[in-house]
Symmetry: C2
Subunit: 376 residues, 2 copies
């Protein structure tokens, strides 16, 4: 098993058709597809094509409500509260960030808090929606609990990412990071490779640090305790309380302000996840000359990139640079999709009565030891 690379256009057409086949409109399907493929273009495999199966299951189980539409239940010129009515998370997220952008353009700032949604893909997509229009964008989401509070042994907060985007040249500022030290997907990769986890990532069911990936994952799945450490580890000396604090901040903007479901209770219901989001858009014009501000940010980030490197390091990155490089490369060389994911996509085609071969002609699992194959 390895990876097969596909041209962007192949995956684009496939995703569009899949979501239309589920019953979403053309426009809705385009939004969902854009969120997923942006993740793959950025090199974040965990939140792209690999997630198709999760959304399929969510729709089948009735956790994602196909016909539901997000609704504004309270608003002011600078804010809105949205009930997602358990619609597809990407559609709720897109709708909510559009609302934040609209308010930022009219009033300078838009803050939107959302309850009763679903997993919405990468947080950064929505922050980028704002920065693509010259604004500062922020995006937050809670999720099922995976972060163990400092000194605890039970996961009480989600991976609770905070994403921030702002225009700059030649690379925008684009920051998208879980407030846990890593996401669960990273643990799963180490598990698949039968490698011990790095120190400072995970806790066993009693709250002790653990590098035993199968044990940690079994405890998480079984709900026996343990989970992932906050950014900063599990001790105050390494700043555990700081990552834990950022996790709470994310929760405030998502589930507290919206009076929604906090992470410890998300995904415990038969007919919904209860996942909450938060979105902020700010027009830099409310601080004067937006072009001057963009230039100042561009110069600041260039200064960071050009600053002296540590012994043995060749490059200092600023956030957003890697995503631009990854996108350029994926567009030129194709997007890698795991053979396991390809099998899931084949099953999805069966379910939706789509012709797998009309997208992925000639695809077969070849155990020839090559990492990448495909039509790129």
């Amino acid at each position: 098993m390895g990876y097969v690379k596909w041209r962007y256009e192949v995956l684009d057409r496939f995703c569009q058709d899949v979501f239309e086949a589920f019953g979403f409109t053309k426009e809705e399907s385009g939004i969902i597809k854009d969120v997923l493929l942006t993740s793959d273009l950025f090199g974040i495999e965990s939140h792209g094509m690999q997630r198709m199966v999760r959304y399929h299951k969510g729709i089948e189980k009735g956790i994602i409500h196909l016909d539901a539409k997000p609704e504004v239940v309270f608003e002011t010129p600078v804010s809105a509260v949205i009930d997602g009515h358990s619609a597809m998370g990407q559609l709720v997220g897109h709708f909510a960030m559009e609302k934040a952008i609209e308010k930022a353009k009219a009033s300078g700032v838009g803050i939107v808090t959302v309850r009763e949604s679903n997993h919405y893909g990468i947080a950064g997509f929505y922050a980028k929606m704002a920065s693509d229009q010259g604004l500062i964008g922020m995006s937050f989401t809670n999720s099922e609990a995976i972060m163990v509070p400092t000194f605890g042994r039970k996961a009480m907060l989600g991976s609770n990412p905070i994403a921030v985007a702002m225009p700059a040249d030649p690379y925008p500022f684009f920051f998208d990071a879980a407030t846990t030290v890593v996401t669960r997907g990273k643990l799963e990769i180490y598990n698949k490779l039968s490698k011990p986890l790095p120190e400072g990532w995970a806790l066993d069911k009693d709250g002790h640090a653990s590098t035993d990936a199968p044990d940690v994952l079994a405890n998480i799945v079984g709900g026996y305790g343990g989970g992932i450490m906050p950014l900063g580890g599990n001790q105050e000396v390494t700043g555990s309380h700081k990552g834990y604090g950022y996790g709470i901040l994310c929760e405030i903007i998502c589930s507290i302000l919206s009076l929604g479901v906090t992470s410890a209770h998300c995904c415990t219901f038969p007919d919904k996840t209860g996942i909450c989001h938060g979105f902020v858009a700010i027009d830099p014009k409310i601080f004067g000359d937006a072009e001057q501000i963009k230039k100042h940010l561009s110069e600041f980030m260039e200064e960071l990139r050009q600053s002296p490197k540590a012994d043995g390091q060749e490059r200092i990155y600023t956030h957003g640079e890697k995503e631009v490089i990854a996108t350029r490369r994926a567009m030129e060389e194709g997007i890698p999709v795991n053979d396991n994911t390809m099998l899931e996509l084949a099953e999805l085609c069966d379910y939706l009565k789509l012709d797998f071969n009309s997208y992925f002609e000639g695809y077969e699992v070849v155990d020839d030891g090559s990492m990448f194959r495909g039509n790129y």
Copy 2:
């Protein structure tokens, strides 16, 4: 040398008189004093009485401009840009947060960015100003460079704290944390105690991890390179890029939006520091029922505190709880002040022609091995 404890009232009267003697008005002196003593009440010794000497030097050198007043140079109903004109940082910070609060009360949100200020004490003080009035408050500041970017060897960002406060019962949410793993003060404490630094804190001049406190501090003071790691250490595997990203976020709100001086250039001028701040106030009413939101946050934080503890741990804290406990204790038992600091205060009295003994009657340095002495 040890610590001597003083009743709050003693330090309150002393600080008020000191700042009035410098030439600040009664009201201004009260503000500066409140910022410093709030730090001591919270148990953050580094930013309280111990800082008096720094402000004294700043005024003497002409870096802090005694007669300068902060000025609003641009504003909208939801925002302001303030030029601090190198006035005392606490006065600039207080003025700017008052402006953010005023705008939040009128428009729902107030975002204020500040250039050309000075060190303003603990970031959390200003966030608390908002939460004491029922709002969500945020406070940010840059400073002289101390944080080394991921893969770098030169400090390019300040300790760049982010503070957030929001009302809740019985303890508010009060988060105030450097985006570096620790502040420079912590390194100085290890140095004084001749102890090696914990792993994951500091870098030597070549960008290698170092536990050698005297060497790291000498390199910082001499400008030879090295510094403190971002929250998350110096490797991507432990999330270094995340702390580095939060450091940039802080810089954006402070120095980028205000077109001010970024941390790498702060404190390099003969007549100013150029330090920048950022302040946000949000009225929870713009999301509906503020009382319900406060109740939801209170219950969420109680659930965190009551969640199962790790083996060997007795308590899970939420941010703000320790500060309430520390304040109660300091009010009952007195505020500890280091003998070194007491000697600095005596020199300050000489300089300002204040009678040291009228505040600290009978004080003498007694090397009797006791940790605490005083009039508490």
